[in-house]
């Protein structure tokens, strides 16, 4: 239990909730940081994000968090959990702010929900997609352990992810379109929802992340 989790802080929004939720589910030590040495030395990495993608990407690059993330993912092969805009930043490109190039770690796009958005019954849907929606789990993954399929998680976003490689899909959510709610690849798990704000199911996912040993 003396493990260290680094929550990458690139100055966008409040990371207090992510850190306290991790602490609540038994993380040994949680560091909210953009310090290269601390992130390099951490056992696990959380890559969160809120706000607009252009500012996020600018800060990620300025603070060289992109390099640290690549290091953790590819060379060190540490468990990495990306959350919300952290997930979106992994894709190739986002439509937000007139179009912004992202990290291209996971090929694919981030698109606006669009208006008018309607559900299968023709009911108008509001954007942002804000609130508790059901996540359909796709396949088995250690991070879904103990979480019933179709559990509700808290979402708040206006742009949604579609990974090019559909075999990466670990969870989907319906909101006018079918959006990627969770993606999994080797030691990476990325979620569009906020586990730190998703009460029981979200805390279980964070607990699972702390216990996760992805195959090398």
């Amino acid at each position: 239990m003396s493990e260290t989790v680094a929550v990458i802080d690139y100055g966008m929004g409040n990371l207090h909730s992510v850190a306290s939720a991790l602490q609540h589910v038994g993380a040994g030590r949680v560091l909210v940081t953009h310090d290269a040495d601390q992130i390099r030395a951490a056992d696990r990495v959380v890559f969160p994000g809120v706000g607009a993608i252009r500012d996020c990407m600018a800060e990620i690059r300025r603070l060289r968090c992109d390099e640290l993330l690549q290091l953790a993912l590819i060379e060190q092969r540490k468990p990495v959990l990306a959350i919300c805009v952290g997930m979106q930043a992994l894709l190739s490109r986002s439509e937000e702010n007139g179009g912004v190039d992202c990290l291209d770690i996971v090929p694919g796009t981030v698109r606006h929900f669009g208006q008018p958005l309607v559900d299968a019954g023709g009911q108008r849907l509001k954007v942002p997609h804000m609130g508790w929606n059901e996540v359909r789990q796709v396949g088995q993954h250690p991070l879904w352990q103990g979480i019933p399929d179709a559990s509700r998680f808290y979402f708040v976003h206006s742009y949604y992810v579609t990974a090019a490689d559909r075999s990466l899909l670990a969870g989907a959510v319906d909101y006018g379109v079918s959006a990627d709610a969770a993606l999994a690849r080797n030691n990476l798990f990325a979620v569009q929802f906020h586990p730190e704000k998703s009460h029981t199911a979200g805390l279980q996912l964070l607990r699972n992340f702390l216990a996760w040993s992805p195959p090398c």
Binding site: A52, K126, M130, K197, H199
Partner: protein
């Protein structure tokens, strides 16, 4: 199945204490917002709104501390409103652990604040609170205006047009309170709720006047609200959050259980 309609208990807090009084069944009035927020979290509330009515400047530090404590223990979204006047105030509350910040009077004096805040922090955390009151009809059509100072001071601003403007400036959500109904327990003012939910593409929270569970149902089914906010029906232990959800679910409303 899709997005659940949300139930949001609201805490009115003055100098670190819940002022409307809270009396859960079998539990004495605690008055401690952290305790109360934790209990609503356990009951399955979908979010919590914390309305700071502290008048003194010194009291604001207490508020920040209380928000920090709630955020450490409550793992559902927390909205903080009351006395937010600047980008700096918003930053302070978000850093303390609020997920969203609700702007009311300051948006009227300075609409650009909504735009600046949305660009800086993202639309998802900027809620604009609208206190609306019915005024004389225009050509036989009902009209609602924005009032400040607890519903005493008219502004002349049309509530529906204002909601549209706020959404255009980057608000992520509208918290709509009917000042005609607030505290009456006669139910939401459904006319203004429907007019605003139809006019904007962002989610709308209905507030003001809930006295029973049928009012919550009407807010969603007739008013078209995406979320319903209530204080006293939960505080005084008349209904629990699970009872409210079961009641709504039985009437075909999708809720998170």
């Amino acid at each position: 199945m899709g997005l659940a309609k949300r139930i949001i208990p609201c805490l009115d807090v003055d100098n670190g204490r819940v002022v409307k009084g809270v009396n859960f069944v079998g539990i004495r009035d605690a008055g401690d917002p952290v305790e109360i927020a934790r209990r609503y979290n356990e009951q399955g509330a979908d979010e919590i709104t914390f309305l700071d009515i502290t008048a003194s400047h010194e009291g604001r530090d207490t508020t920040v501390h209380t928000v920090e404590q709630i955020a450490e223990q409550v793992f559902i979204p927390l909205t903080v409103g009351g006395g937010i006047r600047s980008v700096e105030d918003i930053r302070t509350m978000l850093n303390a652990g609020a997920d969203k910040v609700s702007i009311n009077t300051a948006a009227i004096h300075n609409p650009e604040l909504v735009q600046q805040a949305s660009e800086r922090f993202g639309a998802q955390c900027i809620v604009v609170a609208i206190d609306a009151k019915r005024v004389a009809d225009v050509d036989g059509a009902p009209r609602w205006e924005i009032f400040t100072h607890g519903g005493r001071k008219p502004t002349g601003i049309d509530a529906v047009a204002w909601a549209v403007k706020m959404a255009d400036l980057g608000a992520g959500e509208i918290l709509l309170t009917s000042m005609d109904r607030d505290g009456t327990r006669n139910g939401f003012e459904l006319g203004v709720t429907r007019a605003i939910t139809d006019a904007v593409d962002i989610p709308v929270i209905a507030s003001g006047g809930v006295g029973n569970l049928d009012h919550l149902v009407a807010g969603i089914l007739e008013g078209g609200a995406d979320a319903v906010l209530a204080a006293s029906i939960f505080h005084f232990g008349e209904y629990t959050v699970p009872e409210a959800k079961a009641y709504m679910a039985a009437r075909g409303i999708e809720v998170r259980t």
